[in-house]
C-alpha cells in the first residue's frame, strides 16, 4: 500500500505529458471497438454544429410566414415541407436544434455540477452531513417534477431560463445519488485509509482519489442529462409549459402543429420527431459506449 501511495506522484507527471495522446487513443478505441457509439457521437456532433450555426445555415427565417405556401409536402424548395403558416420546416428544425443544444448542454452542465457537489460532499463526509443532505434529496425527489415546473412557470413566467434552471435542479439532485454511491464505494477503499493515515488532507484526497472515480459516472450523467432535458422540454410543450413562441422547439412542433395536422401534413410531425428521436438516441448510444469504456470495473476484463 505504501508503494501505491508513493507511485501516485510519478504517474501524475507522465499523465500530464500524455494527455493529448490519451485523447487520441480514446477516440481511436471508440471508433474501432464501439462502432455504434462512434456513430452516435458523429450524429450528435452534426446536430451540435447545425444548432450552433443555425442562423447561418437555415435557408429561411424561423418565423417566416408565407400564407401562400401552406402545408406543402417536401420539395426542392422546402426539403422538409412547410407548416400550416407556410414556414419552412427545415429551417425551423435547425432553429429547433439550436434550442435543443442550448437546453441540453446547459441543463446537463448545471445538473452535473449539482450532482457532483451534492454527491461528493454527502458521500465523502458521511455521518450527520450525509444524513441531512440525503433527507433533503429524498424530500426533493418525492416532488413530482411536473408540478415544480408548473409552479415555477407560474411564479416566474414561462420562459427558457426558468425551464433550464428547474430542469437542471431536478435532474441534478436525482443524479447526485449515483455520484454519492460512487464516492461511498471509493471511500471504503483501502488506499484512502492509507492516504489518510499518512496525513493527506481532505481536498487532496478528494482530488487525487475520489474525483477520478467519480468522473466516469459524471460523464455518463452528463450525456444522459442532455437527452433527458430535451425529452423533458418536449413533454412540457405538450402540456403547454414549454419554451414559448416565437422560438421553435422540436417538442413544441411535435406536440402542437405536428399533432393537429398529423393527417393532412405528416411531415409536420415526422421532421421534428425524427430529429428529436435521432439526437436523443445518438447521445444515449454515445453515452453508453463512453460508460463501457470508462468504467474501471470493465477495464481489463476484455
Amino acid at each position: 500500500m505504501k508503494t501505491q501511495a508513493i507511485s501516485v506522484q510519478p504517474q501524475a507527471a507522465s499523465k500530464a505529458a500524455s494527455r493529448p495522446n490519451a485523447c487520441w487513443r480514446f477516440l481511436s478505441k471508440l471508433f474501432r471497438e464501439k462502432r455504434l457509439g462512434a456513430i452516435g457521437a458523429v450524429v450528435a456532433v452534426v446536430f451540435l454544429f447545425v444548432g450552433l450555426f443555425a442562423d447561418v445555415l437555415a435557408p429561411y427565417g424561423m418565423n417566416e410566414v408565407d400564407m401562400g405556401a401552406r402545408l406543402q409536402a417536401p420539395s426542392w424548395a422546402h426539403p422538409f415541407g412547410t407548416d400550416n403558416l407556410g414556414r419552412d420546416l427545415l429551417s425551423r428544425c435547425m432553429y429547433g436544434a439550436q434550442i435543443s443544444v442550448i437546453i441540453g448542454l446547459t441543463v446537463a452542465a448545471i445538473s452535473t455540477v449539482i450532482s457532483a457537489l451534492i454527491g461528493i460532499i454527502s458521500g465523502y463526509f458521511g455521518g450527520k452531513v450525509d444524513l441531512v443532505i440525503q433527507r433533503f434529496v429524498d424530500a426533493w425527489m418525492s416532488f413530482p417534477g411536473l408540478v415544480v415546473l408548473i409552479v415555477v412557470a407560474s411564479v416566474f413566467g414561462a420562459g427558457i431560463t426558468q425551464i433550464i434552471f428547474t430542469l437542471g435542479l431536478l435532474i441534478g439532485i436525482g443524479g447526485s445519488r449515483i455520484v454519492r454511491s460512487a464516492v461511498v464505494s471509493v471511500r471504503e477503499d483501502m488506499y484512502i485509509h492509507a492516504a489518510k493515515s499518512i496525513g493527506a488532507s481532505a481536498p487532496r484526497i478528494l482530488w487525487r482519489h475520489v474525483l477520478p472515480n467519480v468522473i466516469p459516472p459524471l460523464i455518463v450523467l452528463f450525456t444522459s442529462s442532455v437527452g433527458t432535458a430535451i425529452l423533458a422540454e418536449s413533454g412540457l410543450s405538450f402540456l403547454g409549459l414549454g419554451v414559448p413562441p416565437p422560438h421553435p422547439t422540436w417538442g413544441g412542433m411535435l406536440s402542437g402543429n405536428g399533432r393537429t395536422y398529423m393527417l393532412q401534413g405528416p411531415w409536420l410531425a415526422l421532421a421534428p420527431g425524427i430529429c428529436l428521436t435521432l439526437v436523443v438516441y445518438a447521445i444515449n448510444v454515445f453515452g453508453d459506449a463512453l460508460r463501457d469504456m470508462l468504467d474501471p470495473r470493465m477495464r481489463g476484463s476484455r
Binding site: M67, R70, L85, I150, G159, L241, R259, T260
Partner: protein, 566 residues
C-alpha cells in the same frame, strides 16, 4: 353484357329503396326508446367542480346540474333552424325573446311594472330518490326556497339580486317576484341564466354537495360520477315534458342514459368520435373538421361562430393608446381579411365586438355600420401610418402584449399580428403568461398596455358593461367613459326591448369606433354527430350553459348504428 344489365337493375332497385327510405325519413320516422347517448360537450376538457348550486360556480354547474335541476325558462326548440325555424341555439349567454318557452313556468305576466306573477306547470314531479326524498310534485315553495338559498349563500356575487325585493308563493303553483327596479337581464339573473336552478329542500338537507344526493325535475338523473373521466345520467321516469313528432305526442326522454365525457386531449376526442365511442362531439376546430369530414364522411355537421372571440385590448389610460388615432391606426395596420383567408382558411368572419350575430336585434352586421367603423376592418397601412404620424408617432413605438400560453391558437396568431404591426413601425412585444397569472392580470387591473383576451359568452346588455364598463372584470382596455356607462345603465333599465336594442346598437357602434382594442376576426367551429342520432340538428344551448331539453329530445336509432358497423 347480361351481368351489367343485372347490375344496373340491382343498382336501380337499391337506389329506389334508399330513395324511399330517405323520403320516409323526411316524413318524420317514428322515434324509438332506449339506448345510450355519449356526448362530449363544448367544455369537455374540464371536469365538474361542484354539485351545490349555492357554490355560485357558473358554466360547469349548469352543464351538469342542468340535466336534473330545471329552470323557470328555456326555449322552444321547434323554432330551431333544423326544424324549420330561425334560430340555431348555439350561444349560451342569451336566448332570443320570441323563442323563450316556459320550462317550469307555464305562463308569466307583469301584474304591476315591478311585480311578476309566474304560474308554474302543474304535475311536474321530483322523482323518488333513496335516502333523500319520496316522489312529489313541484310547488311554488320550491322556487322560493331555491331563490332564497342562492341569495343567502356565502359564496354569492354581492348585489346580483339587489333588484329583487322578495319572492313569495302566492299559492301552490304561483310565484310572485317583487322587484324594486327593472333591469333588462332579470330573466337571465333568475330564470334561464347560470344561477337559476330549482332544487328541492330535501336535497339541501341531505347534503347538496354530494352527487349521490342530487335530485331534480329534469329529464335525467345523475347515477355515476367518474371524476375526470365521465358522468352518467339515467332517464327520469316521471319527467313531465313531451315532444311532438310526425303529429304524434311522445313522452320524454327517449334515451335510457346520457354519458358526458370529460376528454382533455383533442386527438383523443376526434378518435373517439371516429370510432363511434362518441355520438356527439360539440366543439371541433375548422381544421380538424376538414380532416374528420374526409375520414368519416357519414358524420353530420353544424357550423357556428365561436362565442369567445378575441381582441387585443389596448389600455386607453396608457400612452400611446390614450390617443384614439393610434388605436384606430393599429386596427388598420392589421390585414384582417388576409387572416381570415389565409390563417383561418376562410373559416372565420369579421366580428363586431361584443355583439355576436345571434344576438338577434342587438347585432348590427358590419356592412350596416357607419363608414368610420367599417374602415377599421379594412387593411390600409398607408392610412395607419398617416394617423400615427398625426398623433406624433411617425417613428412608431413599442409596447408589451400579454397572451395566455393556454391557447395555442392565440399564441400562433400573435406573431402574425406583430408582423403586420411592424409594417407600420410599431413593435409589439409578446409576453406569454400562464393561465392563472394571465387572468389575474386582467381581473386585478394590472395588465400590460396590450392584452389579448377572448370575451365571455353573456347576454348583450351585460356584454357591453363587463367588457367596457369602468372597473369591470373584463375591462382590459381600462375604459373609463362615464357617458358610456350611464347609457349602458339606461339600456339596462329600459323595458321596451326595441328601444333597448336601439340603444345598445348605438353603443356598440360607439365602442367599435373608439377602438379600445384591435378587433380580431372570430373563427368558426363545428359540431359533429352520427346519423343514428335523431331529432337533433346541432343545437347546443337552451339557457346559460344548459342543454338537457335538447338531449331529452334526441333518440338513438340503434338498428342504424348496428347496420353502420358501430
Amino acid at each position: 353484357m347480361k351481368l351489367t344489365a343485372i347490375a344496373a337493375v340491382a343498382r336501380l332497385s337499391v337506389g329506389l329503396t334508399l330513395g324511399a327510405a330517405a323520403a320516409a325519413a323526411l316524413a318524420q320516422e317514428a322515434p324509438k326508446y332506449g339506448g345510450t347517448l355519449d356526448v362530449a360537450t363544448t367544455s369537455t376538457a374540464v371536469t365538474t367542480l361542484s354539485w351545490d348550486l349555492a357554490d355560485w360556480q357558473a358554466t360547469l354547474q349548469t352543464r351538469d346540474t342542468g340535466q336534473f335541476y330545471e329552470q323557470l325558462f328555456s326555449v322552444d326548440l321547434t323554432k330551431a333552424k333544423s326544424r324549420g325555424g330561425k334560430y340555431s341555439f348555439t350561444i349560451s349567454g342569451w336566448q332570443p325573446t320570441e323563442a323563450i318557452r316556459g320550462e317550469l313556468a307555464e305562463t308569466w305576466n307583469w301584474t304591476t311594472p315591478l311585480t311578476l306573477e309566474i304560474k308554474l306547470r302543474k304535475g311536474v314531479k321530483f322523482p323518488a330518490k333513496q335516502g333523500v326524498m319520496a316522489e312529489r310534485e313541484l310547488v311554488a315553495d320550491d322556487v322560493v326556497y331555491s331563490f332564497n338559498r342562492m341569495n343567502t349563500s356565502a359564496k354569492r356575487t354581492q348585489g346580483y339580486y339587489d333588484h329583487v325585493d322578495k319572492v313569495e308563493a302566492k299559492d301552490k303553483h304561483t310565484v310572485v317576484f317583487t322587484f324594486n327596479k327593472f333591469i333588462a337581464d332579470w330573466d337571465y339573473r333568475f330564470g334561464n341564466g347560470f344561477f337559476s336552478g330549482i332544487m328541492p329542500k330535501e336535497v339541501a338537507d341531505a347534503g347538496a354537495g354530494n352527487w349521490k344526493n342530487v335530485n331534480g325535475t329534469g329529464p335525467f338523473m345523475l347515477t355515476n360520477v367518474a371524476q375526470g373521466n365521465s358522468l352518467t345520467f339515467s332517464k327520469n321516469p316521471v319527467y313531465w315534458d313531451k315532444d311532438v313528432i310526425g303529429g304524434k305526442e311522445y313522452k320524454l326522454p327517449f334515451v335510457d342514459r346520457v354519458v358526458h365525457r370529460v376528454i382533455k386531449d383533442e386527438t383523443t376526442q376526434h378518435a373517439a368520435l371516429r370510432t363511434g365511442k362518441l355520438d356527439i362531439l360539440s366543439s371541433i376546430s375548422a381544421e380538424a373538421a376538414r380532416e374528420l369530414k374526409k375520414s368519416s364522411p357519414d358524420l353530420k355537421w353544424n357550423r357556428w361562430l365561436t362565442t369567445t372571440a378575441n381582441r387585443v385590448a389596448l389600455r386607453v389610460d396608457t400612452k400611446p393608446f390614450t390617443d384614439v388615432r393610434v388605436r384606430r391606426a393599429l386596427n388598420m395596420a392589421v390585414n384582417k381579411q388576409e387572416i381570415i383567408d389565409k390563417y383561418y382558411g376562410g373559416e372565420a368572419e369579421m366580428f363586431t365586438f361584443p355583439m355576436h350575430p345571434e344576438y338577434v336585434g342587438y347585432h348590427q352586421p358590419l356592412k350596416e355600420q357607419p363608414a368610420s367603423v367599417q374602415e377599421l376592418f379594412k387593411y390600409d397601412p398607408a392610412k395607419a401610418k398617416k394617423l400615427l404620424a398625426e398623433a406624433g408617432y411617425a417613428n412608431g413605438f413599442s409596447f408589451k402584449m400579454q397572451v395566455c400560453t393556454c391557447n395555442p391558437d392565440q399564441m400562433e396568431l400573435m406573431p402574425l399580428v406583430a408582423a403586420y404591426l411592424e409594417g407600420v413601425g410599431v413593435k409589439m412585444e409578446i409576453v406569454p403568461m400562464e393561465y392563472g397569472a394571465h387572468l389575474s392580470a386582467m381581473t386585478s387591473h394590472t395588465n400590460a398596455a396590450g392584452y389579448l383576451t377572448g370575451i365571455p359568452d353573456v347576454n348583450p346588455t351585460t356584454s357591453l358593461r363587463i367588457n367596457f364598463g369602468k372597473g369591470q372584470v373584463y375591462n382590459a382596455p381600462m375604459m373609463d367613459d362615464a357617458k358610456f356607462d350611464a347609457r349602458v345603465a339606461e339600456a339596462n333599465g329600459e323595458r321596451d326591448e326595441k328601444k333597448r336594442q336601439q340603444i345598445l346598437r348605438e353603443l356598440t357602434t360607439y365602442v367599435l369606433d373608439q377602438a379600445p382594442a384591435i378587433w380580431m376576426p372570430a373563427p368558426y367551429r363545428y359540431t359533429a354527430w352520427w346519423p343514428w342520432v335523431k331529432n337533433y340538428g346541432g343545437e347546443m344551448f337552451v339557457g346559460a350553459g344548459r342543454f338537457a331539453p335538447i338531449h331529452a329530445r334526441i333518440w338513438i336509432d340503434q338498428d342504424l348504428k348496428k347496420k353502420m358497423g358501430y
